[in-house]
Amino acid sequence: MIPGVDGFMYPNEIELQWGLLIVLYPYITGLVAGAFILASLERVFKVEAVRPTYRLALLTALAFLLVAPLPLQLHLGHPERSFEMYLTPHTSSAMAMFGFVYLWYLTVVLLLEIWLDYRADIVRMAQSTTGFVRLVYKALTLGSENVSPAARRIDDKVGYTVTVIGIPSAFLLHGYVGFIFGSVKANPWWSTPLMPVVFLFSAMTSGIAAVLLLYMASMKVKKMPIDMRCLDTIGKYLFYTFLIDFTLEMLDLVHRTYEADESFRSLDFMVHTRLMFSQIVLQILLGTLVPLALLAANQLWKFSEAQRRVMYITACLLTLVGIFAMRWNVVIGGQLFSKSFLGYTTYKVSFAAREGLFTAVGLMILPLVIFVVLVKLLPPWAERKSV
């Protein structure tokens, strides 16, 4: 008997190849895509109520996007060769496209949109500050210091176009991450055409929840009033998005259960044993049904502002936990059973290893640090613009 193994695994399968860091990869890119789609609600779909979170959502997306490649990089056996993906990409590989999708999203969509939106502020700050800070802002203007109304109109027009391009790009970014898993025919837990769609909606759900939390936290830190109309509107969108996400996931589950193909016995066993806590308890009960109930209650009944705030905070925190559990169940769950469908292995997270828990925690804190720096550098609130 091999410790941690039940039944029969092919001998090379006992050790998991994709660990905690690969769980973070879709989680972080999902937050990026979701935050950006929330920002586009205001810009493209003219949902004025969410305006207070527009810039915040963009900065959130950028902070997480900058960290997104790090878990992959740390996971590689030879990180120094990763640039080869740009130089000699293998065109039939889903993974080979990541670098290009990432660069497109980072430079063409996010950086450009943020720069266009902030350009006038950057020019103003370059004029009103001194010393090193002034140099930073001066550099950020990229030499474009014309902030006449005509120039601003051009900024706005181009920014709008970029956002319009950005929406399918955000869909591409995360739908593509889903495709990386969904297209692995050797693995029945992953191989489903629903995977990119499920990833996309779960991305939107987690991104919206993250921005909502960051907005409330920022207002608390800044001692500024929370715009409840904004909160309620985002809460409504979170509810609908989450509902679609949950429906899709349940559709997948019902489909698998009803078809009950060769792999079903394995997958069913896992859900009832090794994934019981992470899938049933964390993902479905705590991470989905509870937040959905809280958000639904807000649509049905009237609550006081204080009650709503607590409900949103709870719902968003649980949503983030639930979506993380979902990524865990996909990535780790997909490797716990043998491709022979005759056995199961165990995954133990190491602590101080390169792909261990400490690294993962660091990688989740890093975007928040970047976010704080970005907010300091490019204040998203009107009150700070005049500083």
């Binding site: 039944g7 029969f8 695994m9 092919y10 001998p11 090379n12 399968e13 050790e15 190849q17 994709w18 992959l72 996971h75 590689l76 056996g77 030879h78 060769r81 990763s82 080869e84 993906m85 000699t88 990409p89 293998h90 039939s92 590989s93 889903a94 993974m95 080979a96 990541f98 990386i180 692995v184 025919k185 050797a186 693995n187 016995r265 490797q335 043998s338 491709k339 022979s340 469908f341 005759l342 056995g343």
Partner: protein
């Protein structure tokens, strides 16, 4: 010009001495006439495995491990023992492969079960999912049909390990690149067979060349009941099994 009989014998004798010196030198230095160069386009390699002949001795696993310096705990080839009950279908077969069967198998204590051994290795698929997913093309199919990994190019992302339906790949703990069966490429391109085939005492494993019209594979495919592993994966697997039981995965 007239050549006398004496001149003829003198020149002939000298030539004979020169030729014998040359032949002796060749024997001493071991120089041989150059073998015919290996042409990749002339071959398309695969393997046949006769389930009935495999006795589960583990010779192939040991030979492979020694020949290719396979790190402990990882396997380029391994042998599985299947024990299938009469009530198959509802009951899953009992399968074991202790340490890849590098030391063979302990005797079974269960009676009344259909028992047989299944040697496993990379199927060197013609439409290989591992080759398809490699982001930099470090895994490739050679023109003679062998799936190989360029160790100097592999990123170690392990997408190919996930994509292989047969569990044939692993990350080499020292090189941090993906490793797998090369069908003893260093041997077969020298006209030798693989280490596993050479060491098999019953001839259960046999290297085959589909492009060689005299290869027994053609007769084998014409007359025997053959099967590949997981045919529904449509990977174009080139390891053909004779008399493979339906329970094998």
């Amino acid at each position: 010009m007239e050549i006398s009989r004496r001149d003829l014998f003198t020149v002939g004798g000298k030539l004979l001495v020169l030729a014998s010196v040359g032949a002796t030198l060749e024997q001493i230095t071991g120089a041989e006439p150059a073998p015919e160069a290996y042409k990749m386009a002339d071959h398309w390699w695969g393997m046949i495995v006769d389930i009935d002949k495999c006795i589960g001795c583990g010779n192939c696993v040991r030979a492979c491990s020694n020949e290719n310096h396979v790190p402990g705990g990882y396997f380029r080839t391994w042998v599985e023992r299947y024990q299938v009950s009469e009530v198959d279908g509802d009951e899953q077969p009992r399968v074991d492969s202790p340490n890849g069967a590098i030391d063979g198998f302990p005797p079974t204590t269960r009676a009344g079960l259909k028992s047989f051994f299944v040697p496993k290795l990379c199927n060197h698929c013609a439409h290989s999912p591992c080759v398809q997913v490699c982001p930099v093309g470090a895994t490739f199919v050679s023109p003679d049909g062998v799936v190989l990994v360029d160790q100097s190019y592999c990123l170690g992302c392990r997408y190919c390990v996930q994509a292989c339906p047969y569990g044939c790949r692993y990350l080499h703990p020292d090189t941090r690149t993906v490793d797998k069966c090369t069908l003893c490429y260093h041997r077969i391109t020298q006209g030798l067979t693989t280490a596993c085939c050479e060491s098999c005492p019953t001839g259960a494993r046999q290297l085959v060349d589909f492009k060689n019209p005299k290869d027994p594979i053609h007769e084998f495919l014409r007359h025997d009941m053959v099967q590949v592993l997981k045919p529904y994966m449509a990977t174009g697997a080139k390891v053909y099994y004779k008399d493979l039981d339906g329970s094998v995965r």
